[in-house]
Structures are given as structure tokens and as C-alpha cells.
């Protein structure tokens, strides 16, 4: 395998003494292998004379491969890589930052996102201007009825004994009332907005229903997998989420898990059914998650 190889043989004590003599009182590098975790501890002195301890943890994986693949693993490097040491060369191979697959739940989300990018799209189909004469979607000066309706309104106003200024104001007044329901335009205090009466709804966690139907399972064995839990709890009802706490390095279970059901009744039945249940030589403890 081209993976990082290490030397099992210990250096002879004579070499060790020599090395120590060269580099002062640096302890020799150590390698410990515990299960599938290899820890390499090295010591180093930098230019300022400061001592450093470098601890690196590796996970050793054994992969089964077909014969042809295994043979190819032992091929000699060639071309521009001819003189590369075994193992990945940092000049050509690096591990980049974590990236995650962002899941898109439905089409509407996507479309909404695309529209956001173009602010002009938002304004389309909304009234930006309103004519003072006919309340149409254009400037007053461009009004097609400017010559006919305009003087008529003026006359009407004069007959009623109002000044044109006041008339305009009167005409403008109903506007806020009209505008209020539309989303853009004038500021509307939150209390008067659509749904202002539904108090604090948005502040409550979305998962509330979920949390209510979540149970905590403890005293699980180390070998437990998510699939085991799924099998165990599926008979009680549909499960929305399973979280099994696992060790970051070994991938083994830490002995507890949270299971969220879609319905609280199912969760209650699961508690009644599985609590005290013998599973994998241990007795399970199931209760409501806090």
C-alpha cells in the first residue's frame, strides 16, 4: 500500500545516545498504536530555542481490495512523480477545508433564492407610482386623462369651495390606507403588520413538536449502530430523527441516543415498551429527553 509506512524496528540504543548528544535533551519520538489509532509524538526545537511537542493522531484503516487493485497499489511511480516518496506528496495532494452538501428541500426555495438575486424582479407587478388624477400606475404628468379629468376635478373642487391644494391632499389621503397592505413602501410598525396579532409565534422554536416527542435512550452497548436503533424503535411509529452519540475517533457509540418521533403518543409507547428491555447484554433505560 502506498499509505504512510512506518518502521516497527526500534533504533538501537547506541544510535539513540548519539542523537541525544546531537540535539540536546530532546526525548526520542514515540509511536503508540492503540486499536486502530496510531499516535506519533515528536519533539522539536525551533530557531528561538523553544521546545515543541508535536502529537499527531492517525486512524489506521484496513481496506479489502480485489487482487488487481492490490497489485496496482504496488506499482512504481513514474513520470513527474518518479522520485516522490511513498504516500501523498504535499506538492500535489492536499486536504482542503470541510465542505458540506447543502440540501435543497424543495423547488420553491430555489426559485425564491434566484429571484432574490434580481431586486428588479421584486418590484415587478407592484405599484411604485400612483397618478393623482386617475390613481393609475404612472406619473401624474403622463396621465392620459390629464386634459379631461384634471380640469373637471379642479372645477368640482372649486364648486365645493375647496382650494386645489386641499383637494390634492384629500385625494392623497386615502392612499396610505391602500398602501398599507402592500409589502413595500411606507413603514408599518410590527404590531400593525399582517399577522401582528399572532404574538411571538415566530420566536418559538420550530422543533417544539419534535422535541416533545423525543426520547433519550441510555445504557446502549458500544457496538450499537443507527440502523439497530431504527429497527428497535420503528415498530412504535414513524421516526423523524435518530441521533446516536459517537466517539469522533473510533466511531463507536458513546452509549446514549436521542430518538425523535413524529407523534408524542408513539414516543410514549416506545418508553413504555423498551424501558428495561434487555438489549445486547445491557438493560436499556428510556425516558423523555429534557
Amino acid at each position: 500500500m502506498p499509505s504512510i509506512e512506518f518502521d516497527d524496528s526500534k533504533p538501537s540504543w547506541a544510535d539513540q545516545v548519539e542523537e541525544e548528544g546531537d540535539e540536546g535533551a530532546l526525548p526520542s519520538p514515540k509511536e503508540t498504536i492503540k486499536g486502530n489509532i496510531k499516535t506519533v509524538t515528536e519533539y522539536k526545537i525551533d530557531e528561538d530555542g523553544k521546545k515543541f511537542k508535536i502529537v499527531r493522531t492517525f486512524k489506521i484503516e484496513t481496506r479489502k481490495a480485489s487482487k488487481a487493485v492490490a497489485r496496482r497499489k504496488n506499482w512504481k511511480k513514474f513520470g513527474n512523480s518518479e522520485f516522490d516518496a511513498p504516500g501523498p506528496n504535499v506538492a500535489t495532494t492536499t486536504v482542503s477545508d470541510d465542505v458540506f452538501m447543502t440540501f435543497v428541500s424543495n423547488k420553491e426555495d430555489l426559485n425564491a433564492q434566484d429571484q432574490d438575486e434580481d431586486p428588479m424582479n421584486k418590484l415587478k407587478g407592484q405599484k411604485i407610482v400612483s397618478c393623482r388624477i386617475c390613481k393609475g400606475d404612472h406619473w401624474t404628468t403622463r396621465c392620459p386623462y390629464k386634459d379631461t379629468l384634471g380640469p373637471m376635478q379642479k372645477e368640482l373642487a372649486e364648486q365645493l369651495g375647496l382650494s386645489t391644494g386641499e383637494k390634492e391632499k384629500a385625494a392623497a389621503e386615502p392612499e396610505p390606507a391602500q398602501q398599507a397592505p402592500s409589502k413595500t413602501g411606507k413603514y408599518v410598525p410590527p404590531s400593525l403588520r399582517d399577522g401582528g396579532t399572532r404574538r411571538g409565534e415566530s420566536m418559538q422554536p420550530n422543533r417544539r413538536a419534535d422535541d416533545n416527542a423525543t426520547i433519550r435512550v441510555t445504557n446502549l452497548s458500544e457496538d450499537t449502530r443507527e440502523t439497530d436503533l431504527q429497527e428497535l424503535f420503528r415498530p412504535f411509529g414513524s421516526i423523524s430523527r435518530i441521533y446516536l452519540a459517537k466517539d469522533k475517533n473510533t466511531g463507536q457509540s458513546k452509549g446514549f441516543a436521542f430518538i425523535s418521533f413524529h407523534r408524542r403518543e408513539d414516543a410514549a409507547r416506545a418508553i413504555a415498551g423498551v424501558s428495561g428491555f434487555g438489549y445486547d447484554h445491557l438493560i436499556l433505560n428510556v425516558e423523555w429527553a429534557k
Binding site: 513514474f78 486536504v95 452538501m101 447543502t102
Partner: protein, 325 residues
């Protein structure tokens, strides 16, 4: 997931391909060197040195013995996969755009560009007959006068080659006589990439008309369409899930003129049956030029205009995810 970044090229990646078992990953770019990597840890096994121009295409045969590359230096070369030695040099009169081994590894095909007054040709060579290679005489050579071939793959059983053209047409060319068996035109613009499913029953085409389409490879029946708002450079079918991955972005020449829009260079995952997008993966700094699924379906790689190849091993969430229909 932590992608493995492969920096073996100085220019943009043109094609990447896994071998049959998926332990090796081949990459070619617009620089003259083809690279081969171990997919498990990203270690570079070697390079195939010899081309003097951009390399447009790469293919590896069934048992990972031979590698075929086609280049803009007007040549198609055959390499020994293990040692990187050049086994054959087939000179052409214009750039080689696509190349491929048939399933037996005995017959190769490649297509040349319509360029410098030369026509686009689709050539077939039989590697079992050394005279053909020495004399550079294909046993079948098909001229395509109408529209040049921009991508091509072998069909099932090695009977024909499925080729996508610059005008959006898809043709089946018989490997025996060179005649056109079937023609469909579902795309309106150039077909950038064609890849087949692991069992060769379906192909997926990626086109400049912002769609990728799934076809039956024998009947060329149009099965599904996947729409985006950008040109699609490459698409691949997952071997284990009903998923399709697509890579694209603006054309390289337009990137600088549309600079305000960033973050458009994701790989996009679609459900093959519902034709709906369900996930995206970011990472490249330029349009993605090619994508490929590992034959075991547990990882995929993408090569971009930025010159990097990225190997992604899927997180468990990917396998658990179910699209709400």
C-alpha cells in the same frame, strides 16, 4: 466531508475518469501532461509525458492496462498504464476531441475537430492489428461534415459509438460500417459531455442549452431532463442511487465579465426520477468542467476551470437523505 485537492495541472481540467474498479483516477487538462492518481488518498501515481498541446480527452481500458489520450497537438496517444511509456502515436490533421476504448479494450475510437480546413472525422482502430497503428490507417473513418463531434462514448456491447454534436444532435455510429444508426435532437445547443451509466443502459448528456438529459443508450429514447440556469459542462449518473450530478457555470470567457455573481460554481445533485435538485456542493473557484462518480458510488470527483481536481467522499447524510416527493 473533506475533499482531497489534486494539484497536478497548471491549466484548467478538461476531463477526469475513473478506471473500472475506481482505484485510479485519470485527469487531463489544457496542459500537455496527463496525470493518474490513487483515488483512495489522492496520491499521484504518475504522469504520461509526451503531448505538446492541450489534452482534451482520456480513457482507460477495461483491465487498466492501456490509457488513451487525445490532444490539440494533432495526435492521439496510447500509453502503458503501469509505466507511463508511450506505446503508439496516431497523428491526425486536426485536434483530437474525444477518444475511447470499447468494452473489450481492443478497438479504439477518436474524433477530430473541424479545424484549419479539415473536416471532423470519427476514426476506428483495431489494436489487435499492428499494421493499422503503424500505417496510421483506421479500418473505418467517418466524415461528419454537418456539425463536429464534441463528445462521444461507446454504446453497450461495443456495437456503436454515441456521439454528441456541436448543434445538439446525438448520433449512433456503427463501429463496423461507420453508418449512422439513429439520430435524435433533443438539445438546442452544443453537447459538452456524454457519460454512460455503470451498466451502459443509459447515457446522460450535458449541454450548453442549460440542461442535462437522460437517454436510453440503445433506442436513444429521451427519458428525463434536468434543467438549470447555466450551461452544463458535465453530468454523471450515480451507480448506486437514483442520483445525477451536474457541473457547470458560466463559460470561462464570460466569468470575468459577470463577476458580481459569485458562488455559482457548485456541483449540483438531482434526483434522477423526480428531476428535482436536492443538494449542492461548493468548492471550485471556477466553472466545473467535468464530474465523475466513483464506480462504488461512495465518492465523486470534479475537475474545474481553476485547474484543481477534488475528490469528495460523501458524508453519511448523503446516503440517508430522502427526497420528499
Amino acid at each position: 466531508m473533506k475533499p482531497i485537492l489534486l494539484q497536478g495541472h497548471e491549466r484548467s481540467i478538461t476531463q477526469i475518469k475513473y478506471n473500472r474498479e475506481g482505484d485510479l483516477l485519470f485527469s487531463v487538462a489544457k496542459d500537455p501532461v496527463a496525470n493518474v492518481w490513487y483515488s483512495v488518498n489522492g496520491e499521484r501515481l504518475g504522469t504520461y509525458n509526451g503531448h505538446t498541446g492541450a489534452v482534451w480527452c482520456v480513457d482507460v481500458d477495461w483491465d487498466t492496462k492501456h490509457v488513451l489520450t487525445g490532444s490539440a497537438d494533432n495526435s492521439c496517444r496510447l500509453w502503458d498504464c503501469e509505466t507511463g511509456k508511450q506505446l503508439a502515436l496516431l497523428e491526425t490533421s486536426s485536434a483530437v476531441r474525444t477518444c475511447g476504448f470499447d468494452f473489450s479494450g481492443n478497438i479504439i475510437m477518436f474524433s477530430t475537430d473541424k479545424q484549419m480546413g479539415y473536416q471532423c472525422y470519427l476514426n476506428f482502430f483495431d489494436l489487435r492489428d499492428p499494421a493499422q497503428i503503424e500505417d496510421n490507417q483506421p479500418y473505418v473513418s467517418v466524415p461528419c461534415s454537418e456539425s463536429k463531434i464534441t463528445s462521444a462514448v461507446w454504446g453497450p456491447l461495443g456495437d456503436f459509438v454515441i456521439a454528441g454534436h456541436e448543434n445538439g444532435e446525438i448520433n449512433q455510429f456503427s463501429a463496423k460500417s461507420g453508418e449512422i444508426l439513429k439520430t435524435v435532437k433533443e438539445h438546442t445547443k452544443q453537447i459538452n459531455d456524454i457519460q454512460s451509466a455503470v451498466d451502459l443502459t443509459m447515457i446522460i448528456t450535458a449541454s450548453k442549452d442549460c440542461t442535462a438529459k437522460l437517454f436510453d443508450s440503445t433506442s436513444l429514447d429521451h427519458i428525463k431532463s434536468f434543467k438549470t440556469e447555466r450551461p452544463v459542462n458535465s453530468a454523471a449518473i450515480s451507480p448506486i442511487m437514483d442520483h445525477v450530478v451536474m457541473g457547470g457555470g458560466q463559460e470561462a470567457m464570460e466569468v470575468t465579465t459577470t463577476s458580481t455573481r459569485i458562488g455559482k460554481f457548485e456541483a449540483r445533485f438531482f434526483h434522477a426520477a423526480y428531476e428535482e435538485e436536492f443538494g449542492r456542493v461548493k468548492g471550485h473557484f471556477g466553472p466545473i468542467n467535468c464530474v465523475a462518480f466513483h464506480p462504488d458510488g461512495k465518492s465523486y470527483s470534479s475537475g474545474g476551470e481553476d485547474g484543481y481536481t477534488r475528490i469528495h467522499y460523501f458524508d453519511p447524510q448523503y446516503f440517508d437523505f430522502e427526497l420528499e416527493a
